[in-house]
Symmetry: C2
Subunit: 219 residues, 2 copies
Amino acid sequence: MKVSVVKNILQANDRIADLNKQLFDEKQILTINVMSSPGAGKTSLIERTIVELKNDYRIGVIEGDIQSTQDAEKIAATEVPVVQINTGGACHLDGNMIRETLGQFNLDEIDLLIVENVGNLVCPAEFRMGEDFKIMLLSVPEGDDKPLKYPLMFHEASVLLINKMDLLPYVSCSPERIRQESLKINPALTIFEISATGDHGLYDWYDWLRQKISIKKMS
Amino acid sequence: MKVSVVKNILQANDRIADLNKQLFDEKQILTINVMSSPGAGKTSLIERTIVELKNDYRIGVIEGDIQSTQDAEKIAATEVPVVQINTGGACHLDGNMIRETLGQFNLDEIDLLIVENVGNLVCPAEFRMGEDFKIMLLSVPEGDDKPLKYPLMFHEASVLLINKMDLLPYVSCSPERIRQESLKINPALTIFEISATGDHGLYDWYDWLRQKISIKKMS
């Protein structure tokens, strides 16, 4: 009984996610769903990415949080349109939450839509929202055993950003082990080692994103 | 409709949690439910705590993970009885999962039962398992904005361990802000600043735990 309820919820979500995807395709908006544990660096990464790309592309942001508008306020300071979703307890964003916010953007004037999911390495991976790519962060203080323990997100992601590389000298973590275990779960995963508060590796990430935006514009 | 399903699940869980609690009380077993984001240091804290206390008390451990037995293997090396629960995708432990494992312990020979929950700062806080105390960890690399963003766990916890204090010089985080924001949500919260891989603050935590075990034995 419980399983069938869950299955129905996921199927209903997939239908709405498909509608979102159609709309994003029609408007040629590249949409990324950024996910990680709490405090792995999603907001910092998004801030840096906006500052780097906003002169070349029109960017919109959806900020997901259980409550509070702290992250949305940080993003608003970058002067791109941002909408906050407060889930009121729910541990992930879903297709319908995204759909409900889209009326607050002028979709004809967006090239890149960045969605910051609720901080959670488990549940957000189960819910599509119509995104082109799922992007996940894992920060080195979290440790190198995470792919084996939380495999679904590593399986679903297109890009893994190994963040906080500047802390590597002070923690027990092997990025090489993260890389190997992640690729066992998902051989197609693109992996960048970065420091979202420094410059380490960010240019490779920006290049990846620029390329995907260009491809979307040509589609 | 969805809300009522969720409410029924929580009520059913509470009934089982109450049964567990009765059993733990009857057997005078102090039970703690250890929760945090992935990689905040739960397993390291539990390992250290066992090594410190195992000569004085009889300890049992339940390890919750989505999959893999890595953490249970680490705990088994401390030579206390440990049972692994693999949730197979579920993002939290619940009362029934705990109930199902209890047959694998000799409850007449346990003073302290430590349950390590799935790494997740959101969902585990919603599900009681019959524990005496919810213990949460927040590690300083996660940042000092977490109480405001994930308030339920801070509200439900009896103890907050601010972990990885050794990394404080290298990250942007104010333990004082964590303390203030946490106490606004939960004025009864006991807070210790620790380093689970060093010695920082651990003796205060051990003392707290010894005291609670003694009280339980006298109940």
